[in-house]
């Protein structure tokens, strides 16, 4: 048994070590080195990159990322929960259609979906064109290139991530419990509040984490919809590795982000176990 298992696991182990663990160790190493004059890394080992993280300037970026991610996550949960409830209640045949309709945008390219919002929100985009032609406004509204646009883009991109775990949780809910609550005189709203919500707390937590973590590390959405002005951690990291050519600092930021992600994940796993994923 062990030999077969070892053979089966070998390729994955190889890839994991060579293309995940080793690169991450290189990044750890880089985070303690110094930047060469025009880029690259040179040897003085230093903590300076991590010290730089405490500069209030970067604290602002972290704060902004946390706030936007939280906003996007909460919105996703608020929207996803009733939707998941609706799908869970549907008949078996309709269920798969509804699910398909939720998943379909997810399978479409993320870039395409983000571009769709650029198309709608630009000054010469559809929303402004309609409002202008209806004479509701006289000047185009600056809907794009701000934090709200980024949050909308994040919600749009990650909503399916929230719907699916919530749905699977709600789907497994025992219908008898709901009937019992109704029999005892609870209104639909009371049933949801006192019976359904507590029972699908694990699903809510999973959905929340599944949305929050990608939002935190988002790069494309703030880049395209934020105009390069309201940058998030992901943009800062990309910047350090390309135009700023400060690999050590970029590595330090990356590791800080990873640490944050891991903390969140451990908290979730400890609470709900591996099935949550």
């Amino acid at each position: 048994m062990n030999r077969l298992r070892a053979i089966f696991l070998a390729p994955a182990a190889g890839f994991t070590v060579l293309l995940f663990l080793v690169p991450m160790s290189i990044i750890v190493g880089y985070s303690f080195l110094t930047r060469g004059v025009y880029g690259g890394v040179v040897s003085p080992w230093t903590f300076e990159n991590y010290q730089r993280l405490f500069d209030p300037l970067y604290g602002v970026i972290l704060w902004r990322s946390l706030v936007m991610s939280t906003a996007a996550t909460l919105l996703c949960l608020l929207i996803a929960f009733p939707l998941a409830l609706f799908i869970a209640r549907a008949g078996a045949r309709r269920k798969s259609v509804y699910l398909y309709l939720v998943i379909l945008p997810f399978w479409t390219s993320f870039l395409v979906r983000t571009y769709a919002w650029m198309f709608l929100l630009r000054d010469s985009g559809l929303i402004n064109s309609i409002l202008l032609s209806l004479k509701v406004i006289s000047e185009p509204l600056p809907l794009l290139y701000n934090e709200t646009a980024v949050v909308v883009g994040l919600v749009y991109g990650y909503l399916p991530f929230a719907v699916l775990p919530l749905f699977s949780n709600l789907d497994r809910l025992d219908k008898n419990l709901l009937e019992a609550a109704a029999d005892l005189g609870a209104t639909p709203w009371q049933t949801i509040r006192r019976v359904v919500l507590p029972l699908c707390a694990p699903g809510l937590r999973a959905a929340g984490v599944l949305v929050f973590i990608p939002c935190l590390g988002a790069y494309l959405t703030p880049d395209l919809l934020g105009g390069g002005k309201s940058i998030m951690i992901g943009n800062l990291i990309q910047n350090q590795f390309t135009t700023a050519r400060d690999w050590p600092f970029g590595s330090a930021i990356s590791l800080a982000l990873m640490a944050l992600v891991m903390v969140l994940l451990m908290a979730l796993l400890r609470r709900d176990g591996e099935e949550a994923l």
């Binding site: 994955a12 663990l21 479409t108 390219s109 395409v112 009937e179 049933t191 395209l224 590595s251 891991m262």
Partner: protein
């Protein structure tokens, strides 16, 4: 239990939110004007799209990369899932799940750092091979996720029964478990293909001179401003993948 009207209406609005932006984009890809005023039906942006050789090459690259990485990632990931199902290996499954939640930007820069480091000793460059390696690496975790979920619903007792009846472990895997896994493997392959075809962040960092992909071209065009050709490309992608998923769902139902 009384069904309120609220839920269906709300659901309808959410579906509209999800689909209307894309449908509008598709509709305007047929607009003869490049502005958001409807001026007439036209296929000129599609014509422009098909005659763009850079776009054709990028699409070809994306397809090759996606097919190759899906092939390898699916095999490696499925075997890995099976191995882990038999007996877990904390470091391996931990690392793989960690790689799933690692932000794409971090994965991308770490791979770039790795490749730059290797290039100091070997005369290789960034190119299709680095992109494919990167894609296989992150797709394995997705395949693992899907196949594991499927494996959890499988009965270990079936394999034990086969072993009792004299089958080798390899035969037990091939003849008992593998057929059960088929729909899961198909779903995993589809997921891997989509994730690979759609990837921008990691690819843009590790791509070389010859490996421009469709998302990279799309990104460059999107950054330059309103471009109806992007709408045309988006429409093709949207309906293309929509059809692909529909077909795969049908196939899964028939299994």
């Amino acid at each position: 239990m009384k069904q309120s009207r609220f839920l269906p209406v709300f659901a309808g609005l959410v579906y509209a939110f999800l689909h209307v932006p894309l449908l509008i984009l598709c509709a305007f890809s047929f607009n003869s004007s490049r502005f958001t005023i409807w001026e007439g039906f036209s296929l000129e942006w599609y014509r422009a799209m098909f005659s763009d050789s850079q776009l054709a090459e990028a699409t070809w690259n994306s397809l090759v990369i996606a097919l190759v990485s899906t092939f390898f990632a699916t095999i490696i990931g499925t075997l890995c899932a099976y191995g882990l199902w038999k007996r877990n290996s904390k470091w391996l499954s931990g690392s793989l799940y960690l790689s799933l939640v690692t932000p794409e930007i971090v994965t991308g820069i770490s791979l770039l750092a790795l490749f730059q480091w290797i290039f100091r000793y070997w005369q290789v460059q960034l190119g299709m091979h680095t992109v494919i390696l990167a894609h296989i690496a992150f797709a394995i975790a997705y395949v693992l996720l899907v196949v594991m979920a499927r494996l959890r619903t499988a009965e270990p007792a079936l394999e034990d029964a086969a072993l009792d009846l004299g089958a080798t472990e390899w035969q037990a895997f091939r003849l008992v478990t593998l057929p059960i896994l088929k729909p899961g493997i198909a779903a995993a392959a589809l997921l891997a293909f989509t994730v690979s075809f759609d990837d921008y962040v990691i690819t843009s960092l590790v791509a070389g001179v010859d490996s421009e992909t469709l998302p990279m071209v799309l990104y460059a065009m999107a950054r330059r401003g309103a471009n109806p050709v992007v709408s045309a490309i988006s429409t093709v992608i949207f309906f293309g993948f929509g059809a692909l998923i529909l077909i795969s769902e049908r196939m899964q139902k028939n299994v």
